[in-house]
Symmetry: C3
Subunit: 452 residues, 3 copies
């Protein structure tokens, strides 16, 4: 039963009040009628994955709206297409190869096995049902699948406005079919990082930093957008086309994050699990709130004006930061973890800009910087995590994703090419790649007159 095992592995470091929850529901002797029956727990656990899964699926729409709002109108349709396509490609690849590579037979090693995923619920469906698997196989697959899509969503925003569509989707396929599952197997699949005690509850490193590294390498290899830097090499602000859509996207992500972190408890079939998930909901929300307030305050203090985009990124940075450990902090600690994540982003965004790395939506700052911070902060509230091991995890996964992503981006660059030609980029990827405009009636082409 590889799935059950993978659940145990992922749960290794989930503690509430000093009591390990791992498998508690499933293994504990049923004490009395007051408890939850095995089959009821099975249904609860499955329901948690399904609810969590649809919430995280909805985050794909959040990334799409966030990015559609932050690119120029000449690139909006293209980014919409990329987002709905990457979500689709990620699911197919995770079915074809990714899931088993991440969860099947990792056994302390470096990767799982190759092959299609298929569910095995035979025991639970047998005449005298054996519910010890704990949940329906497909509910777990669905929940894991939307996570890999999230990692891919992070990339699209950073490399927007100049990457070509087809190579981007090929990169997505390889990221979601190979890169993400292999590094994911190291911790959640029960590989070598799990055996060392690495702690990343819902994926500050496994999902967000992985997406962030893949985005960063892409941005460097692609180079900045035309017009992003002036003759003296100073960065120019290129405003997004629709801040309400960007705000909507942020709210969608915040909403979906309750599933992302909450359902990463992986079980709802006991009072203890429901208590843990409740704490995770509160902490997730408050880390984002701390992020917003911090970014609003800091940008007003530094720049004299509040920066809306930075405030949205502050919310997201708070969410990314709490993702590595949303359970053990108190609400007050969660606010602080989110606040620090947000403050880091307020400084990281202009820093990355000055490094001549053109990250269109700030995703590297949010997901990579925020993800590293969140991962390193785990030992502050979780006594079972070690600072050294957290660094080992961050560095090893970082190195793996940097190397593989760089190789993939270069392979694509020297085979099919990854960047739009200058004429297409100036015209906009919507016309160039899709032959249409996202907003054909607005402004009578004002974006052509004013855009970069």
């Amino acid at each position: 039963m590889p799935l059950y095992k993978s659940l145990l592995r992922r749960k290794t470091l989930h503690w509430v009040g000093g009591v390990a929850l791992a498998g508690a529901v499933l293994m504990a002797p049923v004490p009395a009628f007051a408890a939850v029956s095995e089959e009821t727990a099975f249904v609860f656990n499955t329901l948690l994955f399904l609810i969590g899964g649809f919430l995280v699926m909805w985050m794909a729409a959040g990334f799409c709206m966030l990015e559609a709002g932050l690119v120029r109108s000449k690139n909006v349709a293209d980014i919409c297409l990329k987002n709905i396509s990457l979500y689709s490609v990620a699911g197919i690849m995770y079915f074809l190869i990714g899931y088993r590579l991440m969860y099947d037979g990792v056994d302390g090693g470096l990767l799982g096995s190759f092959g299609l995923w298929s569910p095995d619920d035979g025991a639970a469906l047998a005449e005298d049902g054996d519910f010890s698997a704990g949940y329906a196989a497909a509910s777990d697959w669905f929940f894991q699948m939307v996570f890999v899509a999230t990692a891919a969503s992070i990339v699209s925003g950073t490399v927007a406005e100049r990457v070509k569509l087809v190579p981007f989707l090929v990169f997505t396929a390889l990221l979601t079919g190979l890169v993400y599952p292999i590094q994911g197997s190291w911790h959640w699949g029960g590989g070598w990082l799990a055996e060392r005690g690495f702690a990343d509850f819902a994926g500050s490193t496994l999902v967000h930093s992985t997406g962030g590294w893949a985005a960063l390498t892409g941005a460097i290899i692609l180079g900045p957008r035309l017009g992003k830097y002036d003759a003296q090499g100073r960065p120019r602000a290129i405003p997004g086309s629709s801040l309400p859509l960007a705000t909507l996207g942020t709210f969608v992500l915040w909403f979906g994050w309750f599933g992302f972190n909450g359902a990463s408890q992986l079980a709802l079939g006991s009072a203890a699990d429901s208590i843990a998930i409740s704490q995770i909901f509160a902490n997730t929300n408050m880390a984002a709130a701390g992020g917003v307030v911090t970014a609003v305050t800091l940008t007003r203090w530094i720049y004299g004006k509040v920066d809306l985009t930075m405030s949205l990124n502050g919310a997201l940075a708070g969410l990314v930061a709490i993702t590595a450990e949303p359970l053990t902090p108190t609400v007050g600690q969660a606010i602080l973890i989110g606040a620090v994540g947000s403050a880091l982003v307020v400084f990281a965004v202009p820093f990355i800009d000055r490094m001549k790395i053109d990250d269109v939506v700030g995703a590297v700052s949010v997901h990579l910087v925020g993800g590293i911070w969140g991962t390193l902060a785990v030992p502050l509230t979780n006594g079972d995590a070690s600072f050294i091991t957290q660094i080992v995890g961050v560095v090893s996964i970082g190195a793996f994703v940097i190397i593989t992503s760089t190789a993939l981006w270069f392979a694509l660059k020297y085979s099919m090419g990854i960047r739009l030609d200058a004429e297409s980029e100036t015209m906009g990827s919507d016309i160039a790649e899709l032959g249409l405009e996202a907003y054909p009636e607005f402004g009578g082409g004002s974006q052509k007159l004013r855009g970069g």
Copy 2:
């Protein structure tokens, strides 16, 4: 207990691993403490309807955004009003007449009874509660109600930009109060199609094709929009005003579809049910993913450019196609079912265009063509369905909806008129019907200069 019966009827063809699930939770002897108690199952089943219900309700917003993005800006406010109104009218009509017409006393026949719906939960609320009804009556009503609203939502997009508001809403009232419930009673209400073994799990035919036929007859009787065809009768592309809104709407629909298909399992009160719903979630998602990838690939191959609108419709076609049988396919089969649905839409859209049928958003291709395909595909994976019976269902429901819709559209045409006059259509339905503009500040009136 008509509701319980209707559940049994709807469940007739739901099988997992060769074991009929119908009523299993309710009728099986309770074997041991490991099982789910009757009252717990009642709560789970009810919760499934409530979660599924709010997800499908949210699809109303999805249709609204999809259509608002695909019409020209001069008709955006009007389509918003139509969408929120049709959802409201559908609910009221289904309460007043539709529900009982569909589910009360059909008994193998052609329709149920007339009268208001009201809940009867007396048995479950009695002192020594009898939970054999299986779920709360109002949760079932709510879940069924949002389905009828979905059927009505399909129509609004096709006939947009030229149908008058009030006759459209009258049509909606009759569609949702009479046409939908009567044909729905044939299968889900336990009517003659159910007795013949027709299989339509969540409504490829009952919901999507019904909406599609009603839309098709409307489009034909209304005629195309002014300027849709040139002097030689060749169709002109009329681009939508906001592709990010159309994309958002597609994501909303995809998200809501987990409720549409998942909660159509109609029970969550056993491990077997939760396993079935999990498979449905995975299949629903992957059919859509297959649809996206197919449309992206095909349009790039045929036209040299990827078509975003077609890709969105490809996602929806995949979803419609898997709706008739989301449970029995493997994930791989689900991807293929979605892919074929999407491919059919890629060819159906230009075909319908050339037939001089002006379907503004492509809803006939998606919901009717995709719905027929999905219904006919059921026997490919479900051994209990018969190809002949599926054809009987498609044809009989098609004939009924074509005849009744045609009669309604003509009755409205020759009584109150159904089409805006040419001046109003040119000016836009927003100004003509509502006296305002959807985007009063954008473009300084560019849509008046450039619109058709």
Copy 3:
């Protein structure tokens, strides 16, 4: 166990079929295996709060989109920032002071205690778990927290386009940390209004009227926007910048309201509770539907054209109206309650306009007028409520919020100032406060040429 007590208090008036549900799940002797076990009920109740909580959290996005669509484009980014900030501030204040002020040790009095909130789930987590608390503490906190954010969201729309950002956020902090919790303690915290038998199931008065009064006092003290009234003092229509966003926001609010009202049942751990929640879902939906149909009909009849904005507000008015008692009405009664709420709004909006009170989005009409109506309508369907007591509640809470809000607005006015200077207001709060534009490419600055 203050939390358990607060649940009992809030539940005092929740009846189904003449049987008080309060604590029934927890106190009833477990009759037989057919029932729900104590721990299962604990999980169900917690799950209800979590689902309800994320649905209500999502309403923050709904308010944001509604308001972003109804302000002019020069103020869109600012209203987005206000909305995401107020949600964040509300959560932090409710954690720091609000929750315990509302729920801890009120005991029939006027307010609770001061101090940070922290969860206490020790009994349920003990070796031989005691599940009599009924739910996880943090799930309750999360659910209560999103309600206070809703109250704050109501204010932002009314005072939009001229209030300064920082004083608005200070007002929000005081509203959510002090004003809302104190009045909330009177009923839901088990204070003096609870002892008198006041009935406000989910907050027509406690949430919506409170937000409405705070908004009304703000609008009066701020004064109308420049250009809102002509030289003769007649109100001018100032159209919103994006009606599809306003429609989207309304759909989001409608969707979230299932959590708002449904989870206010506060328990899901029995068949009776699930039946109650189902009825609440149906009633909530149909009150909104009644509101839409009424506003569409009335505005067409009065003005000759259907008013989209009024129809959206009609939906919301229906939702606000049913919130005080979504359980005891039949579906038919719910439609009527919503319809009356909507009709009141159709007349209240122009009335308030003529009173020279400039409510940008109509929130006072919807939330205050609709909330009063809903609260007074409770005795029509709930025999345990008294008309006199309902008036006492409406008046006492109204007086408290009017006095405290007025004091706060004036204190802010004479300390930091609450209104943008004329130049900033004309230029738009986006440029003035944030230094950017929400839609920099649309219209080539048309909003500067055409805006008020």
